[in-house]
Symmetry: D2
Subunit: 352 residues, 4 copies
Amino acid sequence: MSRLRDLGITIGDMQPGPQNAITDVPGVMVGHTTLIFDEPQVARTGVTMIVPRDGAIWSDHVFAAYHVFNGNGEMTGLPWIDESGMIGAPIGITNTFQVGVVRDAIIRYAMDHGLYESFFLPVVAETYDGHLNDIGAFHVTTEHAIAAIEVACSGPVAEGNVGGGTGMNCHEFKGGIGTASRLAETGSGPFTVGVLVQTNYGLRGDLRVDGVPVGRMIGPELVPTPWPRHESSSSIIVVIATDAPLLPVQCRRLAQRATTGLARVGGYGHNSSGDIFLAFATGNHLPAGPASAYNLRMLPHEQMDPLFHGVAEATEEAILNALCAAETMVGFQGRTSHALPHDLLRAAVGMR
Amino acid sequence: MSRLRDLGITIGDMQPGPQNAITDVPGVMVGHTTLIFDEPQVARTGVTMIVPRDGAIWSDHVFAAYHVFNGNGEMTGLPWIDESGMIGAPIGITNTFQVGVVRDAIIRYAMDHGLYESFFLPVVAETYDGHLNDIGAFHVTTEHAIAAIEVACSGPVAEGNVGGGTGMNCHEFKGGIGTASRLAETGSGPFTVGVLVQTNYGLRGDLRVDGVPVGRMIGPELVPTPWPRHESSSSIIVVIATDAPLLPVQCRRLAQRATTGLARVGGYGHNSSGDIFLAFATGNHLPAGPASAYNLRMLPHEQMDPLFHGVAEATEEAILNALCAAETMVGFQGRTSHALPHDLLRAAVGMR
Amino acid sequence: MSRLRDLGITIGDMQPGPQNAITDVPGVMVGHTTLIFDEPQVARTGVTMIVPRDGAIWSDHVFAAYHVFNGNGEMTGLPWIDESGMIGAPIGITNTFQVGVVRDAIIRYAMDHGLYESFFLPVVAETYDGHLNDIGAFHVTTEHAIAAIEVACSGPVAEGNVGGGTGMNCHEFKGGIGTASRLAETGSGPFTVGVLVQTNYGLRGDLRVDGVPVGRMIGPELVPTPWPRHESSSSIIVVIATDAPLLPVQCRRLAQRATTGLARVGGYGHNSSGDIFLAFATGNHLPAGPASAYNLRMLPHEQMDPLFHGVAEATEEAILNALCAAETMVGFQGRTSHALPHDLLRAAVGMR
Amino acid sequence: MSRLRDLGITIGDMQPGPQNAITDVPGVMVGHTTLIFDEPQVARTGVTMIVPRDGAIWSDHVFAAYHVFNGNGEMTGLPWIDESGMIGAPIGITNTFQVGVVRDAIIRYAMDHGLYESFFLPVVAETYDGHLNDIGAFHVTTEHAIAAIEVACSGPVAEGNVGGGTGMNCHEFKGGIGTASRLAETGSGPFTVGVLVQTNYGLRGDLRVDGVPVGRMIGPELVPTPWPRHESSSSIIVVIATDAPLLPVQCRRLAQRATTGLARVGGYGHNSSGDIFLAFATGNHLPAGPASAYNLRMLPHEQMDPLFHGVAEATEEAILNALCAAETMVGFQGRTSHALPHDLLRAAVGMR
């Protein structure tokens, strides 16, 4: 499994964290359940869980907010994020048809583990994998969702054809899960911004890598585009984590900055796309059910620009990491989705 | 089963429709699945489905919008309602823990009936029935949700301890499902506004009926309040339908007007309450996947005031109908939720 | 000048502060410039300024948010309130045609006093006084706006026909400026909620006082309604202040609760009404241009209900205070707007 | 005055309209008042007015919506745009300190011309020209604002150092007004998208032209950056017009797509930037004060992608047109803002 930097290509000026992953934000863990089998029905799907605070998220909430660049998709739990500015459970990503089972599974997990002390509403998002996955078979179960919570860990994050991204595509190549991070220096100290994406959007001709129109250079004559145009333009979920002490209103600012990175790779927020961005900040502790007022810190707004750049760069690179890591997949009804050929990518970028 | 008007009490100046129900809006159907049993685990829960367009909603969408008065609750499908201003499937209401299974069930129903032509994202809302219902038993199944779609019909609507409202409470009396409607005269002709509520909110002392502080007059000394105060303040879902030709931006205006009716009965949007209001308008036909531009009509904004009054009155009366129809229920762990005593209500209102 | 409590009528259960005014929140000052003259053109207008932090608001910002119940009105500065959650200047209220001059005047004042250190965008709102005021004469000047800042003080607040409220009406009686406050006990200590309204909305028949339909009882046969119905339904601006340590996301919650109070008096958010509510919280200090992270406190969401009740009660009473304090006024083109007769009000409420 | 295409550089794949300007949308007119003088105080400022419907906007409104990418700026009139989805007056852009006088001037113009039949709330936006303009001199008057309405016309649009853009900068070069357009083919016929920008944002190093990092290649060693870094990162206003029959909810979708174009040129939505985007659609006629329901057409959402691409391309090119047209300016306190050197730009882009 390769990453963009393994090919000698970097995005932007900022330094990534040690893993160049969302797990560079202390306490953020990622777990995947990947379902790839052909019998009795073709499965190319899964669940990805992002678990903040080393799993203590149930009793120590995080500030959070979201931004919708195009709303043709689902993310549950939005009214409480808006109202409270908080999230109090792991965040799930799966396929479009099974947001519900994953959402309810998070509650079951809480009930089973005595974690349902403070009320919370699960946040689960999706993209559509019905091209490679027999999505009408409803493969994902409560157990699959819970397993993704249980295997979540820090350190390197598997990318490409894993978890919720298993059957996804991106710019008419094989896509999936990608991640990246950036270290941001501010007047209040250094902070990390980490991004994880589940990519399933975009047209071939719109793909750009660091500004270079790679998608036009690797057209369908070189790598056949596997399906009709209108089916290829779907969604992207972006989850942003930071250890900066941000308030909810500031998390919303971060969330919207994912648009910058997405636009640079070639996203337009097509009509059929669910481009939904979630940002959470671990820099303040929010124990559930406190007796009295919380003591918080807040990064001054004037110091947020480095975080904005970090989100833009990390989003751009996370998408490209998904493209680089994903391998060619044959799925439902024999359809093939081709990996982005690394040699052609390298050549295209080198030609600038 | 009584309704407020059966007790000689009316709300406001406007005339209700023939059923004084959301089904007075042509094409709007309501179906309930009610689960009341004690073994193997106590069930006091269910699902309510609101099906527009006599079931043709899948291929002839409606304009819609929502308003969140307090967001401590769930309604799925919000990003696409925001983005498109449309709903393309039945609308479900159930308990807090099982929004997911009901949400996915709507997709299953569509798949099973070949209705998944145009993309849509299910809209399912909830309130919390864990006081009377063993909510951790996850009673509601895919089949229960689908059954509520299948039994949906026009005409009178069962109220009180039915469907999603089965185990709910309201102002520390037994609550549940309620409905009402109003006929609104506008410069563009007469239109109907219908409201359906699933009530599970409010404190005893805050209950008012047509301005009369009934809740204070029927305090816990007359009818014992069955549980600790903090557990009684939960949520209300309001669904508003109209046959007026409203655009999405106008549906949002209607949705917010539910606040007026709720405030008059005694709702404050408490912190623990999910007070989410959805409005849809059937006055324009929106066939899925059209070849060319839709032809629409739009009620001028200047003519919306009668609809605003209609929503306020119908919401107020729908809540009170839920209170009047609901009967005393014994549920989980032997807890009892008392019905609002009709004689005391009549006496209190008559005393003004 | 009378207030509602002087007539023996109280609203709700909570205690008001010493002044029963927005100035009960420490540091909040109010100033009015009132323009009443007949030559060369009829003036019945003015400016009201709300100045937080005893005037130090320019260098010590407050958290803030707003809610729009009906948007047929203006409040400037909204994008920065949304983005930053802060306000950094006095808040103005005036007539519809002159929001601009008041807005620019706040910048001039800052320039003149060397206060333009940190960027801010002025927040100025309006209601329409064109019935009693020759609004096309554009009476308000930069100097008038600045004078309202300069005379701002704590202590009792003049109500009725003063400041921005000079020429306003309410429920087809004479309206104007009103204020009230409530003391809220929370788990984190006691806090004050203060409300100031500029009322210019509503129909006679919809007026209720503590639930009693006073407006129907004092119909046009007793006190003639002075103008055609469609001209009487205009706007209300509500400004809420608190010393609780609220975050911006929590200020938004407070702002929306003004709807509860307004709905109880008889507001529907008519189409022609600009019902815009602003809330700010002084409980955290936010010095402009800080070198490093702010230290903040945050009231837990679970402790906000008393503030919600306080906003509802204080908004209801502030509107009624405006009605009680306003005196009959003859204005533009000889039009008369009648004061709400105190004896009829007392009789109506006593009849419940 | 040069434009990007005069230099042999094009953006994207779509065809521009005949003027490659916002005036390619039928009925859209643009007028500038440009103030450049040194005595008694240095003026480098002005007003730009965008007048839809050949001036009949007052009695035939347009659907509209906005998007805020970063809210450190002002656009008045937002609550009514949100509530009604309409604009009913010319749209002004000026400097930060004088939004008010321009806003009130639009009302004066309406009063003077008997156009104040239907209520409307003026929409006026700004960026900050205090580096080159003595902004504390408040140069812009009511007459200047009205003059910009009166000279508005269709046809070619002056760009660069004109109107509201007179004293503005962009990516640390001289900026100002720019415009561009695109022709979009949809299943409901061809439509035009036109964009006008007032640019005053961005860092030198972030400037990209068609993906090429031109700003890094033309660093301060080639063209000195005229002021401290933190002062250069300010705002951009984007106004989008189309003749497509869009509803308000669809105008909002267009407005947000300006982010795509801005991100590609190098915008991050910095903290100090007011990046506010307005979109209006003339494809439906909305006569003020109608007796009965409007008849409308609506472009199906599924056909909006070409408009999204059009907005992205036209925004990108409009910004670059502003940069190409603007000429080196010496202003307040002798500060110099350098034009983007065309030869260096051409060389940089040719080097890709």
